[in-house]
Symmetry: C2
Subunit: 207 residues, 2 copies
Amino acid sequence: MSQASGTYHHGDLRAACLRAARELLEEDGSAGLSLRAVARRAGVSATAPYRHFADRDALVSAVAAQGYRELAEHLAAAHPSPSTPDELAAVAVAYVRFALERPALFRVMFAEPCDPDSEERVGATTAISEYVRGIVRRTFPGVDPDALSTTVWALVHGLAFLHLDGKLDTSTPEAVAGQVRAAVHALFTASAALSPTTAAPYVRAEA
Amino acid sequence: MSQASGTYHHGDLRAACLRAARELLEEDGSAGLSLRAVARRAGVSATAPYRHFADRDALVSAVAAQGYRELAEHLAAAHPSPSTPDELAAVAVAYVRFALERPALFRVMFAEPCDPDSEERVGATTAISEYVRGIVRRTFPGVDPDALSTTVWALVHGLAFLHLDGKLDTSTPEAVAGQVRAAVHALFTASAALSPTTAAPYVRAEA
DNA sequence: TTACGATGTATGCGGTGTTCACATTAAGGT
DNA sequence: ACCTTAATGTGAACACCGCATACATCGTAA
């Protein structure tokens, strides 16, 4: 990996910047994530990161994209290929847990508008979107997966934010998990009760 | 209202700062919201706002609290006292529309952790929380209102964020409204199908 | 009238993003 | 081996920012 210290060239400054940014994010929150602090931590001059990131936003976007990839791994680790409501709920719990364990990172991932110029970031988000859609497709074969996966994602995403903002009980992991499971179960119970024709509103949503 | 220009004292600098902050937020996004810019726009020295706001966070919290109050009015305007699923869905649509019409303000309202020291901000959020709970209580008399209102809020809040992040179709207001209505209907259909005893998972959520 | 508290000003410090000219180095063709 | 070249890191500089501190001004009430 990176060069030994003392050399003029760093070796892998881009990776070092991302690592430093993640550390600063955990230590001081998103307020402490400054380009200069990243450079200091990487043991490099203040302007060196500009060789690897166009500006601060590019650095932040790269961190966010990394977060998206880790979130995807975290969800996959909860269950390799969910196909039942219970397994879907387990993935939802993992989603909220991810947000609670890395609050600053999660906020960075969704704080600013997802600018279309960051190819890396957009790609990572659509990857998650399609992952969720795949789960929904397997779990609810009769319903429009696009619309329902959007609903599921919105519910879980909202739960994560409300937990982050202290609106919900986060005292124990069990309390969080119970809340998330109850919400998800309420949702998929509806879908199961609806016949495909009754579920017509889903079909028009994307039309 | 405020004094004529030219006088040493402004007259109502606090209100002027809030107004300037809102303008800057709409023009340049949350990045442009600096205390110095606010002071400039209010036609006052850079440090004058400190007589009315302890620091930048206090100013931002005041703006957020204002946003919460306006959101509450916006929801109330959608329907004075919702008590049916359709009326609840109308309020949900209003929630998402509010976020899409004032994206920067909405992000400020939920971007940072709701610090418990800002009495104004915390009070405003709990007001909205209880408003939603009241709706749910009237609409679903048989279910635990705390848990279900949390679920409803999470779903709507998540929908708002996904729309803001460009993950959903926001081309026309009708598309947005249709998506939100479909999601909300799916949720409350589940709750209606569940008997109070079957809905037991909701009861334990807040316990 | 005069003292005082509230409000606004002037100045300065340290931190930040960003640009630009320059220094150093690795890599590759001759 | 040498020299060119592009990539990479440095340093100084500019404008902006949050914030603290000392000072100026003004309404008000004793």
